[in-house]
Symmetry: D2
């Protein structure tokens, strides 16, 4: 076995060569109506508030899939300058029975999203980078997500 692989990882990463669109394309992916548990603050100082909040349910709807939110957890940090960063994992179960893990990294109210599933029907989501936000900031548990590509 050769021990030091001199080929940059990038070299085996690209299977379809070509040029990308400028600016990126945005395609509506789905909307989510999330229900959440209480936010439990475990770290609070003059300059920072950190909290854990359960994602307890919700509904998902879009052109390519519908489903429910089984559950998950969000961890959030609010800084003195008003910045709120959050990381969340939750599981979607589609109406036709696929389980999809959703991983979110957010600068609230903006959310970057990745997906993981071995469902044959939905595994195209593994290559998707999406982005979501509440269209109405008075209704922050209703978000719309867009595929960026």
């Amino acid at each position: 076995m050769k021990l030091t692989y001199l080929v940059p990882l990038a070299a085996f990463a690209v299977t379809a060569l070509g040029s990308r669109s400028t600016p990126p394309n945005l395609t509506f992916l789905f909307s989510a109506n999330l229900t959440k548990g209480s936010a439990y603050i475990y770290d609070q100082s003059e300059t920072e508030i950190k909290a854990l909040q359960a994602l307890t349910g919700g509904t998902i709807g879009g052109p390519n899939f519908d489903g429910t939110v089984i559950g998950g957890t969000a961890l959030s940090t609010r800084s003195a300058d008003g910045t709120i960063r959050a990381d969340a994992h939750y599981l979607i179960q589609t109406t036709d029975g696929a389980n999809i893990l959703v991983t979110e990294s957010a600068a609230i109210p903006y959310v970057a999203v990745l997906f993981d599933t071995s469902s044959e029907k939905y595994n195209w989501l593994n290559n998707v980078t999406a982005w979501g936000t509440p269209p109405d900031l008075n209704e922050i548990n209703f978000l719309e997500y867009w595929q960026v590509s």
Copy 2:
């Protein structure tokens, strides 16, 4: 001290109410010309390849800042279906001396990006969710990044 905070975290997250644009706005943020070290494969099976790769340098240029890449590390997993997921941290130092941490989560060749800095000039980046990709997949170390909002 009250121990269970019943106010949803979201409630203290939103400072500027209003409705969001549909679809999101994309604003060119910067381009990066990255240099990388060798990819070291530490886990290789018939179905998966995992590697660590150093980010050793590079140049950053955009309408709002220029700088250099001080360094960082990327961890990547290539699955049998061709999906490549990567997580990276690297540090940018701007030409006027600010240090900015860049955190990337990618479904290659698409990259979701968050920033961390206490620089007064650049701390608007803490609220930015960005997205990048190589405009030319034959030149994968040159990426363009767009602010999504």
Copy 3:
């Protein structure tokens, strides 16, 4: 402001100099009787199973604190060689009302643990690295945790 800090981070990390014990000390910290929801498998192949599982409750007891588990989420990956890796976050609320975030990284049945809390009474836990495992592998939801130092 000086922009490149040449002092290694380590240099400002050490406040109490001295030599460490060899081998490390192990001090009983607490036991946990966890309750869990169903495991939802979102990625399954011949070589790997990945699942999300809710931590829905539980009781905590030890010489220095008692409490309940409010909730959290565990993400697990089982590989073909039988290795099971897991990452979990969950929140403990002590009987005297402090909220403590528990972060676990595990090579099952062994669990490395860190804590986060701003409670004055319990913030000594922020400096603790702990390690837990089920004393009886037939009762895997009952774990004992030890402080290593």
Copy 4:
């Protein structure tokens, strides 16, 4: 395909039933003499300092393996109360050519450690949870690591 797996993940996690030792066993695993680059502070306030620091090299020695540190990155946060938390990834290459990823989560000067490798000789490390610390806090780049089990 059955969609909701009701069997707790834990149930398929345990292959070797039995009771665990109390207290845990500690076995010397290896020592590391690390070399580090400068610490770049990207977030500094009255209450917190966050920095990125490259791990640029080093030597590893133990009863079961010897090697060198290829490189990696550490991210650290120092809080006002003196707590220092760090997360690091780095790659070890053994003298007989295996690549091993080391993942560290630390409450400095204490470090929890996990390993990833597909090397047949060293893949027993995938099931190891280790713990390390500098035996002499005046020489903080020299750490000793112990397997906990």
